[in-house]
């Protein structure tokens, strides 16, 4: 009985620890600059004001970066999914159906065991002319091997009878993939879509390094420059009134929070696919 109370309390603390920072930043973003600097804000906004968000909405750099990230996700996620499916299907065939399977499997696995390193990677991207374009963020990472492994395991768990029946009816691999495997794989496909989306939305380092122009930074790269940058003079506001009420702290908090909104809105609903997809992908295969 005591254990139960302790357990509930402990879990409550864990959950609180996880959500508190988010709430704190949210509160800061709605507070006045004086309240924020004097440390009076904990979870509830002090001296409530919308000025920080006004700043965010007017800040063209932020909006531009936000749109670039959206564009990146719109390009990158479908490419990832396509690649994942087109690699997972052949590699999930049996040795008899696909004799070169082992070679190709090792071909892809090696890439997660050993890498060239940062500098060579940068150079290849440079040499192939992708530098400073959105494609640099989308093409090099187009083949997500971990997701492929998940999907391979799932495909192998699909009963052979289904494809055998189709094969007997004269269906080729394309047909089997499209009509049988894909419809059945929706949960796992949703999982890998989520992983891919997450990855593209949260990536910041590649944008930082591969883009020469700060105008082309995706959202997280842009945030990196303003949030981690400790220079207090990076804020540019035209309106002196605005400057009186907001300061770097509150505008940073507002921008952070806006960047979090898409993730926060989306992730709870995908939990269902996320847990079953992960576990399903791991059964005997």
């Amino acid at each position: 009985m005591i254990f139960l109370i302790f357990n509930y309390a402990f879990l409550f603390i864990l959950a609180a620890l996880c959500i508190f920072p988010v709430l704190h930043v949210l509160a800061l973003s709605f507070s006045s600059s004086t309240a924020a600097s004097s440390g009076r804000v904990v979870i509830i906004p002090v001296e409530f004001t919308l000025k920080s968000y006004e700043y965010v909405v007017q800040n063209s750099s932020f909006l531009r970066a936000f749109c670039i990230s959206l564009y990146r996700v719109a390009l990158g996620v479908p490419i990832n999914i396509l690649m994942t499916i087109m690699v997972a299907y052949p590699l999930s065939r049996t040795k008899a159906q696909f004799r070169a399977k082992g070679y190709f499997t090792w071909f892809f696995l090696i890439t997660i065991l050993f890498g060239g390193g940062l500098i060579p990677w940068y150079m290849v991207i440079n040499e192939t002319g992708l530098l400073d374009s959105i494609w640099a963020l989308v093409i090099p990472g187009a083949v997500p091997v971990f997701n492929i492994i998940l999907l391979i395991n799932y495909f192998r768990s699909i009963p052979a009878e289904l494809e055998e029946a189709a094969y007997m009816d004269g269906a080729g691999h394309w047909r089997i993939l499209w009509s049988i495997f894909l419809p059945i794989s929706i949960p796992t496909l949703a999982t890998i879509t989520l992983f891919s989306l997450l990855n593209h939305w949260n990536s910041w380092f590649d944008g930082l390094i591969l883009m020469n122009n700060t105008d082309k930074y995706p959202l997280q790269s842009y945030l990196q420059t303003i949030v981690i940058n400790r220079d207090p003079n990076t804020i540019t506001v035209r309106d002196l009134d605005l400057l009186k009420i907001v300061n770097e702290r509150t505008t940073k908090s507002a921008q952070l929070f806006v960047a979090m909104i898409p993730i926060i809105c989306v992730y709870p609903f995908l939990q269902k696919y996320f847990t079953t997809g992960l576990v399903v992908g791991s059964i005997k295969g």
Binding site: P21, P90, R156
Partner: protein, 339 residues
């Protein structure tokens, strides 16, 4: 027991999760009989395989260029690389870059920091999620359980840029909430991110905080796949909660733990570049600088491409060896091959 078993597919982690990739466990023999029945010739087989090759081609091309290409580029480690002259024009200097690397004044502390931080992360990265999964598993109230679950893995989905922004604010010695709280308790402000004695622990703690939710979910799923009959039988034999945990639960999820451990082996020298890069500063280089941040500064900021590549190459080789060793060890200890 609870709503964990969703359908026939939700089951335990496979023994041969990765090894199965190569074996075609499913229906090799069936294929052979099917083959015999259809009497497919070699040429017919090839024709049937063509779509598979076509499917693979785009990904193969991209992988060759962007994953194997850089591997060729590691030859920079053996050159005094001049961007103007390129890969084939730069003078070959053999192991000079490696010697330079070992002579760098902070190389030892950098390696030590990397290993120390990533080991701590690995160990705690198993203990904390497993513990919280066990605790969460005891909760009967499904709504409470689900709410807690959903909340604890929020940080996992946020990027280190966002989390660093939050942490820098919260942990600030002058204005941060945490130090304010400590102030009420009569404790002097702690420089979580500026004090080199504290920095590594801050890094580990915040990393666990970010990631434990994900691990918890994975272990929770594994827990639901343990046969309830085992528990019932043990209760009849008089086992208490603790004994049940020790003898049924933990062995039951041991394959999951091992799988995740071996996978994290490939991360052993990745002490968390994305995190540390955003949270560190020169004042904590002594205990916070890791291999990847050193490579970054050496290569991107100081343009010493050869040395930076050499460090990266060294790191990749060590990781490769560690993966091979841990794979063999897992095989010997648990009869379980990941690769």
């Amino acid at each position: 027991m609870n709503g964990g078993r969703s359908d026939l597919r939700v089951d335990q982690w496979s023994q041969k999760r990765f090894a199965g990739l190569f074996k075609g466990v499913r229906s090799d023999s069936k294929d052979r009989s099917m083959e015999a029945a259809m009497q497919t010739t070699g040429k017919q087989k090839l024709k049937r395989e063509i779509p598979l090759y076509v499917m693979l081609m785009p990904a193969v091309i991209i992988t060759v260029i962007y994953s194997y290409g850089p591997m060729v580029g590691t030859s920079i480690a053996f050159q005094r690389f001049l961007p103007g002259k390129g890969l084939f024009g730069s003078p070959f200097t053999g192991l000079d870059n490696f010697l330079y690397m070992f002579k760098m004044p902070n190389i030892l502390s950098v390696i030590y920091n990397t290993v120390f931080i990533s080991l701590m992360k690995m160990v705690l990265g198993i203990i904390v999620p497993v513990t919280s999964a066990l605790l969460l598993n005891e909760v009967v109230h499904t709504t409470y359980k689900r709410v807690v679950q959903t909340i604890i893995y929020l940080p996992y989905f946020l990027s280190w840029v966002i989390l660093s922004g939050i942490l820098i604010t919260i942990l600030s010695p002058s204005e941060g909430v945490v130090n304010q709280l400590l102030g009420y308790l009569g404790v002097e402000p702690i420089f979580f991110l500026g004090d080199e004695r504290i920095f590594p622990y801050t890094i580990v703690a915040t990393d666990i905080w970010k990631n434990f939710g994900f691990g918890t979910i994975v272990y929770l799923s594994a827990l639901t796949s343990i046969d309830p009959n085992l528990y019932e039988a043990s209760v009849i034999d008089g086992a208490n909660r603790w004994q049940q945990t020790k003898h049924i639960t933990l062995p039951g999820i041991s394959t999951t733990i091992i799988l995740l451990s071996v996978l994290s082996m490939s991360n052993i020298l990745n002490a968390g570049f994305e995190q540390i890069f955003n949270l560190y500063s020169p004042t904590v280089y002594k205990t916070g600088d890791i291999i990847d941040t050193l490579v970054y500064r050496t290569g991107i900021q100081n343009y010493q491409f050869g040395v930076a590549t050499a460090v990266g190459l060294m790191k990749s080789l060590v990781v490769l060896i560690l993966i091979a060793v841990s794979n063999k060890a897992a095989e010997k200890i648990a009869g379980y091959r990941v690769f």
